[in-house]
């Protein structure tokens, strides 16, 4: 376990439109609660992505910043090097699409992604907006996924990734699944933010880097999860 957990937030100047900072704050809080000191680095899109971080986060945003972000990440190469070193990554919404081989630009034109996930995305017919609930891949051993989606993307999963979950309510990837994972990378369309709604997902990311984590008081997390799932799941 590293003496200090380093959290790298990629391009908050471009991609942080939907409370993405929350994922950073939840990781910090859950590490802190286990006595692990954290250091968070906010990386501007004009600056290089450090290669020595432990957990990386990239968030959602508008079409134009998404294209800019993808271009800069491709040119930079720092994230690729970090992933090869074994760092963990959570990529949300626009950031999730960027991790694939291709995604749809503002006119639907194909834009090259950074190729860290075997997925390709395009624009769907209509915007998916609302609460989502999904059963997580049993191999991960996590409780029901909950969150809020707001996107026009349709994402096809290639053989190099596994679906993160099967949707019960909501659209997700558009084929009955939501998100995907491969190695230590998790991609999802979920805001909420995802780690605030799904603390077990936060612990999965942290655990990949720190090893097994002791349980902590999840009272407020659980209260919110229960309320949200009650509001959307069929009784």
């Amino acid at each position: 376990m590293p003496s200090e957990l380093s959290i790298v937030w990629i391009y908050p100047d471009l991609l942080s439109t939907y409370g993405d900072q929350g994922n950073v704050l939840v990781l910090e809080q859950r590490a802190r609660a286990r006595g692990i000191p954290t250091r968070t680095i906010h990386v501007r899109s004009s600056d290089p992505v450090p290669q020595q971080g432990d957990v990386y986060l990239i968030g959602g945003g508008e079409d134009r910043p998404q294209i800019l972000g993808a271009e800069r990440l491709r040119r930079d190469g720092g994230l690729h090097a970090a992933i090869q070193r074994g760092a963990a990554l959570l990529a949300v919404c626009a950031g999730y699409q960027i991790m694939g081989t291709v995604f749809g630009g503002e006119e639907g034109q194909p834009v090259s992604g950074v190729g860290l996930l075997d997925i390709s995305s395009g624009r769907g017919e209509r915007r998916a907006v609302g609460e989502l609930a999904a059963d997580v891949d049993p191999a991960l051993g996590l409780p029901t996924l909950t969150g809020f989606e707001n996107h026009m993307g349709v994402t096809r999963l290639g053989p190099g990734v596994r679906p993160l979950s099967r949707t019960v309510v909501g659209t997700g990837n558009g084929d009955g699944t939501e998100g995907c994972y491969a190695g230590r990378i998790i991609g999802t369309y979920l805001h909420g933010p995802a780690l605030a709604r799904n603390p077990a997902l936060a612990d999965l990311l942290l655990g990949w880097v720190t090893g097994p984590l002791p349980a902590i008081d999840d009272g407020w997390y659980q209260a919110l999860r229960d309320e949200r799932l009650r509001a959307v799941l069929p009784a």
Partner: protein
């Protein structure tokens, strides 16, 4: 104004009747329903009602209603003013507002950001005031860069005189195609939507990156300069400057604002209002006393009394609005926070995580509203101690008699107002 064609006169008369009915039956303040009836009968009604008036359109993410009110108060020094005082800021509301004061030579209309191009096109307003753009109700609102781009297209090639806040890079970009712009350095507290150049996407060099845009130091807050590192886009030289409690006019004269409305955001609104007033020939010496008469706007900043408790009501609809409310709230007082996620609020509560609540540490914090559990977790993660309450009433009862601040988002605010019989 009496030269309206018969059909338009009829439409506007019917609209007024519907508005009266709507008010009489208690189903609303009447300002939207009247306009809808009018618009159905006469699509060109808004154009006709706008003609022959000196018209000001006011748009922004935050502060539209207040700034509309401030400009209206100032212009009343010159004559009657038609205005959509109830915040009904789409074309139907504009028709109601103009139809109900046909003889008024001035009009001041609050305009929803998305409707600005359409309303500008229809009314051919001579003056447009633009204050700020930031993330707001993201599950239904247009993306703000696209919004600014639409402003650019709408303003290009028009004679309208724009009064714009040059401390907001996106507003500056949105306004800079206008034929004539008066720049007001009105400040910008929320900077999280303007780290990138709207023109080329390059980094903007400016103070405050990396602290969540919040808890800016006084020096960072005062440093409102910005410039793109990769292209020539930069902050224009301001004509008017808000400097703390003062506004400096284009002649270099300093005016102490002394508003009754609290906070830096309202001083920014007042600076814009003074610039608009001067464009219509009203100098600060005559406009300012009028601005000082405004004490509350549609219930905002009002103090209401209940069982020995004086509750000051602050509305905050988005992260930038919460920062403004924190600026106004008194650190020595307990505070009640109420959050809903109904349609008008935006159904996604993720924005709570964009707000830095740590400033509330050390004061009693009570949490209520339909989405109180979202807020509870948010505060727990920020290590802000709080007490959860099932209702606003319960939160009030928990606190001892005395002064209390209340911050609520849109529908939560309306629910609280309704509890006090909209007497506020």
């Amino acid at each position: 104004m009496s030269q309206l064609p018969l059909r338009a006169q009829l439409a506007s008369a019917l609209g007024r009747t519907a508005a009266t009915l709507s008010r009489a039956t208690g189903r609303g303040d009447g300002s939207v329903i009247g306009g809808r009836v009018g618009l159905m009968l006469e699509p060109d009604l808004l154009r006709k009602l706008a003609a022959d008036r000196k018209l000001v359109l006011v748009s922004a993410t935050n502060g539209k209603t207040t700034t509309t009110r401030l400009i209206t108060s100032a212009l009343q020094e010159l004559g009657d003013v038609a205005t959509n005082a109830f915040g009904a800021n789409m074309p139907a509301g504009h028709v109601s507002a103009l139809a109900s004061s046909k003889g008024a030579p001035y009009g001041v209309l609050e305009v929803d950001e998305k409707y600005l191009p359409e309303v500008l096109d229809t009314t051919e307003a001579g003056i447009v005031a633009l204050m700020n753009l930031s993330r707001d109700q993201m599950d239904r609102a247009a993306e703000i860069w696209l919004l600014a781009q639409k402003w650019r297209r709408a303003l290009a090639g028009r004679p309208a005189h724009v009064i714009a806040n040059c401390d907001d890079p996106l507003v500056t970009w949105g306004a800079s195609t206008a034929a004539r712009v008066t720049w007001v350095a009105a400040g910008q507290r929320w900077r999280e939507d303007s780290w990138c150049c709207p023109e080329c996407g390059g980094p903007l060099d400016r103070a405050g990156f990396g602290n969540g845009g919040q808890n800016l130091t006084a020096a960072q807050l005062a440093d409102t300069s910005w410039a793109c590192r990769e292209c020539t886009f930069h902050r224009p030289e301001p004509n008017w400057v808000l400097d703390g409690e003062d506004v400096i006019d284009p002649r270099g004269q300093r005016w102490r604002l002394d508003l009754q409305l609290p906070g830096q955001a309202n001083r920014a609104n007042a600076a814009v209002a003074l610039a608009v007033a001067e464009t219509l020939g009203l100098d600060p010496g005559r406009a300012l006393p009028r601005l000082r008469t405004v004490t509350s706007v549609a219930g905002r900043y009002t103090t209401v009394e209940r069982e020995g408790r004086s509750l000051r009501l602050l509305l905050a609809k988005n992260p930038a609005g919460w920062l403004e409310a924190f600026d106004v709230a008194d650190p020595a007082l307990p505070i009640i926070l109420s959050v809903n996620a109904q349609g008008p609020d935006g159904r996604d509560t993720s924005w709570l995580w964009d707000v830095d609540y740590r400033i509330l540490r050390g004061r009693p914090v009570l949490v209520t509203g339909e989405r109180r559990l979202d807020l509870a977790l948010r505060l727990a993660v920020a290590e802000v101690p709080f007490q959860l309450c099932d209702s606003f009433e319960q939160a009030v009862a928990v606190l001892a008699p005395g002064k209390i601040d209340v911050i609520a988002n849109y529908t939560a605010f309306q629910q609280i107002r309704a509890e006090f019989g909209r007497a506020v």
